[in-house]
């Protein structure tokens, strides 16, 4: 699956990191680093992370 972040919208709330720290991390500068091609086995946690974004900066497609 493929995950993308809209950098103009993301303000690093980190709700994605809380839901799936393996594929989403806020770095020391406060910017999101993400695995844009997470394995299908992690689909549930990735989708939870995407839908938890309070500013809808994340989107996922299979």
């Amino acid at each position: 699956m493929r995950v993308t972040v809209d950098r103009d919208v993301c303000v690093s709330h980190g709700q994605c990191e809380y839901n799936d720290p393996d594929h989403f991390q806020i770095n020391d500068d406060g910017d999101l680093e993400l695995d844009e091609n997470p394995p299908d086995a992690s689909r549930d946690s990735v989708l939870r992370a995407v839908s938890a974004c309070p500013v809808r900066a994340l989107s996922a497609e299979s």
């Binding site: 303000v11 690093s12 709330h13 980190g14 990191e17 809380y18 806020i26 770095n27 309070p54 809808r56």
Partner: protein, 402 residues
């Protein structure tokens, strides 16, 4: 024009009595069903305000932060308790975005693990104490202590000064007569807080440590350091928000499990439910009942017109019990999923301390489960006199070994 049913139109959310007595959900249900854009007159000559209570409507307003702004205040009354300094929650983009990023790296979920040892120690000390005493007042001996101790460390406030943080919070957060000794109580508390942090700011500027004050002092936005006014406002928000929320989530959790004892049994049987349980407690309790916005233009909504300059109150507590989104909303279900509650708000102003709050409450409940303790209320809670925070001043409880 939509006409509210007689009962709904009469609901007065500025009358604190139902909130003090714990009957607010009857009112929320009435206006959520029958008067989705509810007009409320205001006491003391205020201009009045609109109330939103449906989940979908809150999302609509929150996701349009140019039409419904924070910059003109987030308390229901037309005032800003932090004075005229710009706080991060009373600020709009782009400055808001830059200001948030100063603190977010230090309060993110992974970073909170650095504070986990401290949280564990604080919780175990508190539980040792209350388990040994049997019957206690929960707020002063547990719920208020944990966030203060943790917040003190995170901010860089020495342990012996931590009670000051709680005292300032009590005096600025509400108009509860118990804490208002004079008409200028809030101003005095605010000045005391600013004076204290002025000293701490200078100390950390000279000798930085691993704490938020040091990070804020060193921060640069477009190569400029934050002004003293901006720093002071930041401290003000962190102290109030770090205190007044988690302590009420803890007290509220004890009350929620007393109301739904079967759910505590489910947690005892399966601790993997702790994670969804925390989200459900945030939904069920909603420590911050509401936040206010101000309209920057006329908006037609539900057959009425919100005028430019009108205040619009977003009732998170009502939206979190909206049956359109949450099945059987008045029932606590520790395994509720999905659970996209508004307990931390939503949108660009989502709670900055959510990860710290989750860590504190989940550590408290996990240690209770490990010790197989039960905390049972023995009297009605004494609620804070406010409609904006779901807050408890006192709760007598019995601490039992299961």
């Amino acid at each position: 024009m939509t006409t509210a049913t007689h009962g709904a139109a009469q609901v007065d959310l500025s009358d604190l009595t139902p909130f003090i007595e714990g009957r607010e959900h009857e009112l929320f249900r009435e206006i959520r069903e029958n008067d989705p854009l509810h007009w409320n007159a205001e006491p003391n000559g205020g201009p009045g305000y609109w109330s939103l209570t449906r989940y979908a409507d809150l999302i609509t307003a929150i996701e349009d932060p140019t039409t419904f702004v924070n910059g003109l205040g987030t308390q229901i009354p037309s005032r800003r308790v932090e004075g005229h300094t710009p706080t991060v929650h009373n600020m709009d983009p782009p400055r808001h975005t830059a200001m948030r990023k100063v603190a977010t790296p230090h309060l993110r979920a992974v970073k909170i693990k650095e504070w986990q040892d401290l949280i564990e120690t604080s919780v175990s000390t508190i539980l040792d104490d209350i388990a040994g005493r049997g019957e206690v007042e929960l707020v002063s001996s547990a719920s208020a202590l944990l966030p203060i101790q943790v917040l003190g460390q995170v901010l860089g406030v020495p342990a012996e000064d931590c009670p000051l943080l709680a005292n300032w919070t009590d005096r600025v957060i509400s108009d509860d007569p118990e804490f208002m000794r004079g008409p200028d109580e809030k101003e005095r508390a605010r000045e005391e807080l600013f004076d204290y942090f002025r000293g701490l700011t200078e100390a950390r500027r000279a000798e930085p440590r691993n704490d938020i004050v040091s990070k804020l002092v060193a921060a640069r936005i477009e190569d400029e350091p934050l002004s003293w006014e901006e720093l002071a406002a930041y401290y003000f928000v962190l102290v109030g928000a770090g205190n007044e929320t988690t302590r009420n989530l803890l007290t509220g959790s004890v009350l929620a499990f007393a109301e739904h004892p079967g759910e505590w049994e489910r947690l005892r049987a399966d601790r993997s439910l702790l994670r969804p349980a925390i989200e459900e407690l945030l939904r069920f309790i909603t420590p911050i009942r509401a936040m206010r916005r101000t309209a920057t233009k006329d908006v037609e909504w539900h057959g009425r017109t919100v005028r430019q300059g009108d205040k619009l109150v977003l009732w998170f507590q009502a939206a979190n019990r909206d049956p359109e989104v949450f099945a059987d909303p008045d029932t606590l279900r520790v395994d509720r999923t999905p659970n996209q509650h508004l307990g931390f708000g939503w949108g660009i102003h989502t709670c900055l301390g959510s990860h710290l709050a989750r860590a504190e409450v989940s550590t408290f409940l996990r240690q209770m489960l490990e010790r197989d303790l039960r905390i049972v209320p023995v009297a009605e809670p004494d609620r804070l006199h406010t409609n904006q925070f779901h807050a408890f001043k006192r709760l007598r409880v019995r601490v039992e070994q299961a």
